[in-house]
């Protein structure tokens, strides 16, 4: 018997033009906790979905216990002893714990017998792994931590020897996360193999035996956790510094244009995503918010721009309050000089089925310059679009083309042109170059600097650390919904990386 639980050889997977996994090799030893770390979009989840039979790899082999297997669907994965705890729980909310655990592994056609069997088995598992949970509780009434426990129980109930956890701590409070780590330790002692996917370095250091690092669809390194360091992993994750050269003069910050005080935002599940955040943004400066995706940046932007209601806190735009906890109207904020380039241009910033020129007025469609009374002034809209196309070099230069038919970079230029050409006082930008081709990146960066030099206040959120460092005049680092530090743009990557991973903060707290 080999001591290798899983071996992946040359796994390759593309979704259309996105090459999600490039020739991946991975070896996971039995009875270990193996971490897989990488930034969002590095391809971790895709790789695990292939292992669980949700997707088929285009190329490559999967070996379990040294034997080559074909995993064509989750059923085959379960049969091979693989269990998975998904990032978004796969639970039926109005079912009981017991029903969720049984689902798909009931055993017999009529439930009576299976229910009592499942109840017994659940008791045994609870006992063995210290996973207490009331089997008759409804999922929707359980806190997230316990829901996750049900997911683990589901896998164990199916006799999984290999457990994959995809970003399991994203939804957990710190005590819940600690409890999870204890459970995983217990599982390891019982001889189970755990694959632990995360983008948080602290967790990797805390519980894994080995760690593999993914970056942009590639597996870049595997290390014994004991023999590596947070600094090394951070560098492997982010990659060697790609020299982003942006010519930029000195900033001349003026008066405060946007003041955020004690802003707190919860998401639809009630989880606090932005936690008592305060900062100022001045005219003529770019403030970058660095952080690993999912640490509250999106919610922060949405609350400031009036799309998402905040729970508490104040936001002042040009000295006057925005009703962020009540009925802030995005359209009204635009009139007051707040422009917003949203993170998700496909669903928020653009209507993909619209013609280019139609997207050129989204959010500004009430502006008199585009209207003749209640009617759209088609000539003005077209002229406006043509001007922006010229100025921003949007290709193809056809204002009547459906927006879906433009490349990512050109779509982003459509949004940028719309928001920047309005001469706003404050510009907030989320992920300015996500999914944008290299050529357009430089252009977009230049435009952002120009805005600053014209005396605009720019708030920049990006998960690309290089981008933040190249553009910002000040850098705020966000972690777990809070701003955990402010640094100058010449701060080292390692320093920022530690802040982003929430490590620095812990050290400071410990001291």
């Amino acid at each position: 018997m080999s001591d290798i639980a899983i071996e992946l050889r040359g796994i390759d997977k593309s979704f259309g033009l996105v090459h999600a996994n490039k020739n991946i090799d991975l070896t996971v030893r039995k009875g270990t906790i193996h971490g897989i770390i990488g930034e969002n979009g590095a391809g971790k989840s895709t790789l695990m979905s292939i292992l669980y039979g949700f997707y088929q790899a285009d190329r490559g082999d999967i070996l379990i216990d040294g034997k080559k297997v074909t995993i064509k669907d989750p059923n085959a994965a379960i049969a091979s002893g693989i269990g998975m705890v998904h990032q978004h729980f796969m639970l039926v909310e109005n079912f009981t714990v017991l029903e969720n655990v049984m689902l798909g592994a009931e055993g017999s056609q009529v439930l009576n017998a299976s229910i009592s069997r499942a109840r017994l088995e659940l008791k045994r598992l609870e006992h063995e792994y210290a996973l207490e949970v009331n089997p008759d509780a409804l999922i929707e009434e359980l806190p997230v931590g316990l829901q996750q426990r049900v997911e683990i129980l589901k896998a164990l109930y199916r006799k999984a020897d290999i457990l994959i956890l995809d970003e399991p701590t994203g939804v957990l409070t710190p005590p819940e996360a600690d409890h999870l780590f204890r459970i995983l330790g217990q599982l390891k002692e019982q001889g189970k193999t755990v694959i632990f996917i995360t983008h948080k370095l602290r967790e990797i250091m805390a519980i894994t035996d080995e760690v593999s690092v993914m970056r942009r669809g590639e597996m870049v390194a595997t290390r014994k956790t004991k023999e590596t360091s947070v600094e090394e992993l951070a560098e492997l994750m982010v990659g060697r510094r790609v020299l982003l050269r942006v010519d930029k003069g000195e900033a001349h910050p003026g008066e405060v244009k946007l003041a955020v005080e004690g802003l707190t935002v919860r998401d639809s599940r009630g989880v606090t995503m932005v936690d008592n955040v305060s900062f100022n943004l001045r005219a003529g400066e770019i403030v970058g918010i660095a952080g690993v995706a999912g640490n509250g940046q999106s919610e922060l932007l949405e609350a400031i721009s009036g799309i998402r209601k905040a729970v508490s806190g104040k936001v002042l735009l040009g000295g006057a309050a925005i009703d962020v906890t009540g009925h802030a109207d995005p359209a009204e904020l635009r009139e007051r000089g707040l422009a917003h380039v949203p993170e998700d241009r496909h669903h928020v910033g653009l209507v993909l089925k619209f013609e280019e020129s139609e997207n050129g007025i989204l959010g500004y469609h009430r502006d008199k310059r585009y209207l003749n009374g209640a009617f759209l002034d088609m000539k003005a809209i077209k002229a406006d679009a043509e001007e922006k196309i010229r100025k921003y070099d949007i290709r193809p230069p056809n204002p009547r083309l459906k927006t879906a038919n433009f490349s990512g970079g050109n779509q982003q230029k459509i949004v940028l042109a719309r928001e920047m050409e309005r001469n706003p006082e404050v510009l907030i930008i989320g992920q300015p170059t996500r999914g944008v081709d290299v050529g357009a990146i430089e252009f977009i960066h230049k435009r952002i600097i120009e805005m600053r030099d014209q005396g605009k206040a720019v708030l920049l959120v990006s998960v690309e650390l290089d981008e933040i460092r190249a553009l910002s005049d000040r850098i705020l680092v966000m972690f777990a919904g809070r701003i955990v530090g402010e640094r100058e743009p010449d701060a080292t990557e390692g320093e920022l990386g530690l802040l982003m991973a929430g490590i620095e903060e812990n050290r400071e707290a410990a001291e």
């Binding site: 979704f15 259309g16 033009l17 996105v18 999600a20 979009g41 590095a42 391809g43 895709t46 669809g217 721009s305 009036g306 799309i307 109207d329 995005p330 359209a331 009204e332 904020l333 635009r334 917003h340 949203p342 998700d344 496909h346 669903h347 928020v348 910033g349 653009l350 209507v351 993909l352 089925k353 619209f354 139609e358 007025i361 989204l362 959010g363 469609h365 009430r366 209207l371 209640a374 009617f375 759209l376 088609m378 290709r395 193809p396 459906k402 879906a404 038919n405 433009f406 490349s407 990512g408 970079g409 996500r434 999914g435 944008v436 081709d437």
Partner: protein, 377 residues
Amino acid sequence: MSNPYAKLPAWAEYGLIPLVNLVVAFLVAGLVVLLVGENPLEAAYHMVNGAFGRGEYIGFTLYYATTFIFTGLSVAVAFHAGLFNIGSEGQAYIGGIGVALVCLWFDATMPWFIVFPLAIVGSALFGALWAFLPGWLQAKRGSHIVITTIMFNFIASSLMVYLLTRVLKPLGSMAPQTRTFEAGGQLPKLDWLLSIFGLDIGNAPFNVSFLLALLAAFAVWALIWRTRFGYEMRTMGHSPSAGRYAGISETRIIIIVMMISGGLAGMMALNPIMGEQFRMQLDFVQGAGFVGIAVALMGRSHPAGIIPAAILFGMLYQGGAEIAFEMPSISRDMIVIIQGLVILFAGALENMFRPAIGRAFAGLGRRSAPAVQTGGA
């Protein structure tokens, strides 16, 4: 992404695909004709002949088409805002009250050109009111608009039976209908329009409400593609999240769109009530609201597509009568089958042929569009 087959040229999107859907629907309908032991080609001949063979037939075809333009527009407007209004039937029915009241009040004292505008307002108002409630319930209480509009169709039907048997019926009459209107409640026919083409309208009730329908089609086009409100409702229909980003109120859009949709459905009542029967009868809508669904789906919710689709269904209704006359085993219910098949193929199965057609185009057109979609991983 949201639409994986978005790269067809406009003429294929708006011409070829509806045509393919239509052809398949007719082929299946042909099978039904075979099943009853008749010759589908002969049926087709009688249909076309019955619809266009004479001036009078054309008049009838266009009379039916008038009705379907209104209901098709009604369904289409709601589609653009992402709403499925199955209630055009009931809204048209209730719209009849507006027409009837105006006619009953003014028909003896006013000429038609005064009564007609009032009746237009009346019909639109009553139709809009009947659509307001489902719209309000969807916007404010989240009640599924498909279900509520179905329910409202039945409620409308009961209400109208009550009104026509108890309230609007003249004293002493047994028939569930209003009295017959005087000259002021009767719309002039468009015989002059057909006579331009050398056609004799005969007894066909083809009347001025056809012109109103064309006007409505133009107005709907302008509303959807040329007004600020139309822009907002299309944004909402395509992407509610982009709508919120742009500061568009979903509640307001839903309620107003439903009222416009209901108003258009209500205006349908002008055609049969003032144009043909000169009184309001029980069940005068006769399923035209549902035909509107087929017309809107086939016309791809564009007025320029809805008018030909409505004429096509007018042809089916008029030509269907001819088939029924010439081939007794095929009654006019054949139309209902075709209507259902069109809804099936142009609506529920719209993606069945599209990939194949899309592939054919991809294979043909090497002069590829610069379509690069980069997704966030």
